[in-house]
Subunit: 400 residues, 2 copies
Amino acid sequence: MFNNSITAAKGFLAAGVACGIKVSGKNDLGLIVCPTGAKAAAVFTTNKIVSAAVTISKHHIGSAKIFGVVVNSGNANACTGAQGIKNAITMCGALAGKIGTDPHNVLVASTGIIGHQLPVEKITDAMPATVRKLAATKQAGDNFLRAIMTTDTKMKCAVRRFEISGKKITIAGATKGSGMIAPNMATTLCFLTTDAAITKPLLAKALKSAIGNSLNKLTVDGHQSTNDTAVILASGLAGNRQITGKGTQYKKFANELVSLCDDLARQMALDAEGATRSFKVIVNGAATKDDAAKAARAVAGYDLVKCAIRGGDPNWGRIICAVGSAGVKLNERKLSCKIGDIAVFRNGRPAKFNAKKASAAITKSFHTITVDLGAGKYSDFCYGCDLSKEYVTINADYHT
Amino acid sequence: MFNNSITAAKGFLAAGVACGIKVSGKNDLGLIVCPTGAKAAAVFTTNKIVSAAVTISKHHIGSAKIFGVVVNSGNANACTGAQGIKNAITMCGALAGKIGTDPHNVLVASTGIIGHQLPVEKITDAMPATVRKLAATKQAGDNFLRAIMTTDTKMKCAVRRFEISGKKITIAGATKGSGMIAPNMATTLCFLTTDAAITKPLLAKALKSAIGNSLNKLTVDGHQSTNDTAVILASGLAGNRQITGKGTQYKKFANELVSLCDDLARQMALDAEGATRSFKVIVNGAATKDDAAKAARAVAGYDLVKCAIRGGDPNWGRIICAVGSAGVKLNERKLSCKIGDIAVFRNGRPAKFNAKKASAAITKSFHTITVDLGAGKYSDFCYGCDLSKEYVTINADYHT
């Protein structure tokens, strides 16, 4: 079977089990192991309140090589004080002990409810059996992915295979997240593996750029969680000569990585809590790059636009209202908007358009809204999703 | 009958009729007239796209005395170009002609759908009969209020009666709005009348301050409309010696005005689209006033918090997450949160609390969330409302 899981890249094993944190009995403990050690890079939430796992992983990411990642779902280990830090270290130690490395060479991530102490003994108790299940199969990769999911309804993973100087390279990614998603950080948990040989600084640079142009461009409800982490591990087993400069080979790697992350971001948009369709807001003609990003995010994050998309209503008034309210420079006489390729607003005035066609465009599972601010030459974009009654149900009926 | 409408202040007449803009046949044309002329002040939306009515009223507010206000609902007269401007001027002219003043001495406001030309002849045709209905009664004031409503389900008005130097003073207010409401402007349409004698600059100062501490502190869905306008008219007929300085008399007037506007803001929060309960987020211990305002708005505007309140869930994790995500300075070890008077989070850690009592507190029609950032001495607040399935229904099923 085609392996599109995180074990697709050479040198990585994975496992995922139910260790009893989730009352549902679903998978809640996941491992990624690179027996030869991997160069690693990560980006973390910019929320000022971070989980113990983020605190520890920020520390451990400095290690020259990372041999494993331990992840739990069902408990965020956030707002848990000194005991939480201790528990995060215990998680790293439990895996490190079994694979014969120092705890500093293990990363940790958690996701789930905030403010409850992690039942860490469930993790330590389950560790030996979980380590025995480590495998390089798609099934093992999928079990890992299931172990990081919370309110996700779909498994979100992707793979890119390409060549660098005649050597086959693979990058694979798995991500979770369907709420508490906003631009400006490494949105939710995202694990990437590659067999490319590349220096640690270039790996970090490629990751930062890829996340910045994909997951960080997704808004579901405008806030970042306390636990958001994106990690990439590079085993270097593909046999390519190590990428050490910013030339063609780096560019190819970086492009494939951003393409993969963009794929994951779109999968996340479509699996956002209660979402039935997703969209991309492209803003052109901005006076600055920052203005373009701000305007795109304002449209994608505006509940009234999200509701209109839910209702299949090509309501450009709400789009224009969001743009006008975003605090960006615009030329009212040039301001224009398209839904798909249908012009609905042109040079500051409503355009005549076929409402049925526009409604059909906005009802697709993925569509594009393009806004031209008429104020400059900069562009940026943001992904969003519709707002449904189900979002409210999911988040009003969920009880702490 | 106790008159709590905008005709409660001496010197004001009002009327409201259905002139045929709304297909529902409900009131859609409202007038306020001050036969002796009133000093006037206004604040307008900060959206970069403004309605023709806002453009014209910004111009007319410079007049020494305002004799009338003409308002329509059912059509926003926004994104309507030169024809829209012409129509806004025609509206002023139609009222001015009937009450014998210059069109520059009349203000105009519109609310409703964006991007459609106003059927202005319906307004001009109805003007003579509407002017004949002008009266100083509660019924006339209520008819005016009905004429400015759109998706509002409740009439939102309030009155304050007090004395300045032994003279009875009245301030009355009427407001509309239940969606597209955000801090940072004069949210929606708000009309205030008073019989106090006060200079135009002091009236403007009092209005700006009152709106800044009431309507501008309300967020329903985070965006301002293209038409938001708050106007105050002062007839000066109360017989008090004109307020010319910032002493006790001014302070008393300003305090009563902010109390009145706060009352209106709370009424709006509770009548927000789909809302069943409203709340006030108070942020203390901020390093700056701006930080306090930002954090309060982040909590009040966060869909996950709004859903939790809908569900009666004292989910402090979402509150803390919003605060951490707001980009403000905070001391994690001092960060604390109360729901009503129940401490749910103290010095960076969850507090033990009675979940049933906290759920009961959050389920009240109005409750308070207090956050202490532990980073300074500044405070600010924001009003918000819960997010319900009905919000989605209202805004997804509404079609342009």
